[in-house]
């Protein structure tokens, strides 16, 4: 019986969460649609959430591109297909690693920051103060953060793509003696413009996930400083899980399991 009770409770909580999240998303989008946007704040958030994440995104994608090249180049040369390494690195970077890595890193840094900031605004009554002044938190706080991530995450993903390809190229040259020219021509042959744009579509979706989950977690914070901690952890965990799930779904939809 206890098991059923727990299961029932869990199910209800899940739907409450999903409902609340949807409501916040709708409200936020309706303000965006009505162009009720705080421009200066949005620019500031682009800087805080986007520009300030650049270094950490560059570092993680550089080393991931390098390690991918390290593993694949030696194997490829052994089987006599060293000319394909560039394509392999670029293919995975642009389609999967660039958008995914930048999103996961940003979820950890920015999703946590959004949840912590909004959460502490809840417990210091600043959210209620906004409401009492006739200001909707969705418009005042969520819209700028959502727009900032929708703009900045794709840009970060492009940086991630480029840096991981360059890192891979350097390692391929150093360890497997694959020349830069061979590497780059393989890159050009393998990926096209639409691979890049489809990768960016993913980034936009991930940006929406990070901003909405971070905001929602923050806004539903209860119970003092400990509550802020829980909200922050939850924001990171939930958004990373959703990023992985939606990445699969998006890959399936965008690439349809095709090989080309």
């Amino acid at each position: 019986m206890k098991l059923f009770e727990d299961f029932g409770k869990g199910t209800i909580e899940f739907f409450e969460y999903a409902g609340g999240l949807t409501e916040l998303g709708e409200e936020t989008l309706s303000f965006v649609a009505k162009l009720r946007i705080r421009l200066t704040e949005t620019v500031l958030q682009c800087y805080l959430l986007g520009v300030q994440s650049l270094v950490i995104v560059l570092l993680t994608s550089l080393f991931t591109g390098m390690v991918f090249s390290l593993e694949s180049a030696a194997q490829a040369v052994k089987y006599g297909v060293g000319t394909l390494v560039g394509g392999a690195v670029a293919y995975t970077s642009v389609r999967e690693l660039g958008p995914m890595l930048s999103a996961v890193v940003v979820a950890g840094r920015v999703g946590a920051a959004i949840a912590a900031e909004l959460g502490s605004m809840v417990i210091t009554e600043q959210i209620e103060a906004l409401q009492s002044l006739g200001l909707a938190p969705a418009r005042f706080l969520v819209v700028p953060r959502l727009l900032a991530l929708i703009i900045m995450l794709p840009l970060l993903a492009i940086f991630a793509d480029v840096v991981s390809i360059l890192g891979g190229m350097w390692i391929a040259q150093t360890y497997a003696h694959i020349s830069y020219e061979t590497f780059m021509s393989s890159v050009r042959q393998t990926i096209g413009f639409d691979d890049v744009t489809r990768g960016l579509v993913k980034s936009v979706v991930f940006g929406i996930i990070i901003a909405l989950i971070g905001s929602y977690q923050g806004l539903r914070t209860r119970g003092g400083a400990a509550g802020v901690g829980a909200a922050t952890t939850g924001a990171v965990v939930i958004s990373i899980i959703l990023i992985f799930i939606s990445n699969f779904v998006l890959s399936y939809i965008l690439y349809g399991g095709s090989t080309g």
């Binding site: 009554e125 103060a129 409401q131 009492s132 002044l133 909707a136």
Partner: protein, 268 residues
């Protein structure tokens, strides 16, 4: 004004359309989780008067203020403000409705990402068509009126507790709302500032013919400003009336509270 007895005159289910009332909490039950905070609680707010709500810590006083501007919705009962039943108003309408009600929070609740001046100017930016210059001047003047000269460009973290409170107070009244809700406006402040704020609350009421609901523990300032006193005890208003009447009340709970006595029906 002392012959008004709104609580007795008004009938249950009255929508607060009574000309003398600006707001009415009607048989409200309110709980957090399993804990019942208000039970069949009713309170009338007389237009143009200052109503002070007194009661023990944790009695639910702040909850009543939040009901009055729709920050909380009751489980049962109704809250009427200016003739509207705000319990059933969608959040989107409530947001606009609230801009005509000032709320001075207990711990000020200034937005810490903005300067003190920007905090006070915020409602003007959002709800008026004033020019940036006028907004700045109005915000500055309002800060001056609560004794906060030269704080416009400071951040909330640079202010003392008492100064913060006055800044929150300035933000609540800057748009000249017709109802202002004050949550413990003088708690923790020195006697001089307490008097200053008590005078400001009275002044605002006279100037705008506005209404104020004030939660306070400070009997001295209550006696100075209150037209009506309501005492909240165990989830309901157990005594309500003009200030003099409440001071002379024979209700042992009220007397014990006003005397600050350890002896009486209130368990210590």
């Amino acid at each position: 004004m002392t012959d008004l007895r709104p609580l007795e005159d008004a009938q249950d289910g009255d929508t607060g359309q009574d000309d003398r009332l600006i707001a009415r909490v009607d048989n409200v039950t309110m709980r957090y989780g399993d804990k019942i905070v208000l039970e069949d609680c009713s309170l009338d707010v007389v237009k143009g008067a200052i109503t002070c709500v007194i009661g023990l810590s944790g009695a639910g006083k702040s909850t009543i203020l939040r009901l009055l501007n729709g920050l909380r919705r009751p489980e049962r009962g109704h809250v009427y403000v200016k003739g509207f039943d705000i319990c059933h108003m969608p959040e989107r309408e409530l947001i606009d409705f609230r801009s005509a009600i000032g709320f001075a929070f207990q711990f000020a609740a200034l937005l810490d990402s903005m300067t003190v001046g920007e905090n006070v100017a915020l409602p003007l930016h959002e709800h008026t068509r004033m020019s940036a210059e006028e907004i700045g001047e109005t915000a500055e003047a309002t800060l001056d009126s609560v004794g906060l000269e030269n704080t416009y460009n400071m951040f909330p973290s640079e202010l003392s507790g008492g100064m913060l409170k006055r800044a929150g107070f300035a933000r609540a009244v800057v748009t000249n709302p017709d109802i202002v809700l004050y949550d413990e406006p003088t708690t923790g402040l020195d006697p001089i500032i307490t008097n200053l704020l008590t005078d400001t609350i009275k002044h605002l009421r006279t100037k705008l013919n506005g209404t104020a609901v004030v939660i306070s523990h400070d009997l001295h300032s209550i006696y100075m400003m209150a037209d009506y006193i309501a005492m909240l005890y165990e989830g309901a208003i157990i005594a309500y009336g003009p200030t003099d009447e409440i001071r002379r009340s024979t209700n042992p709970i009220v007397q014990q509270f006003l005397q600050g006595s350890e002896v009486g029906p209130i368990p210590v």
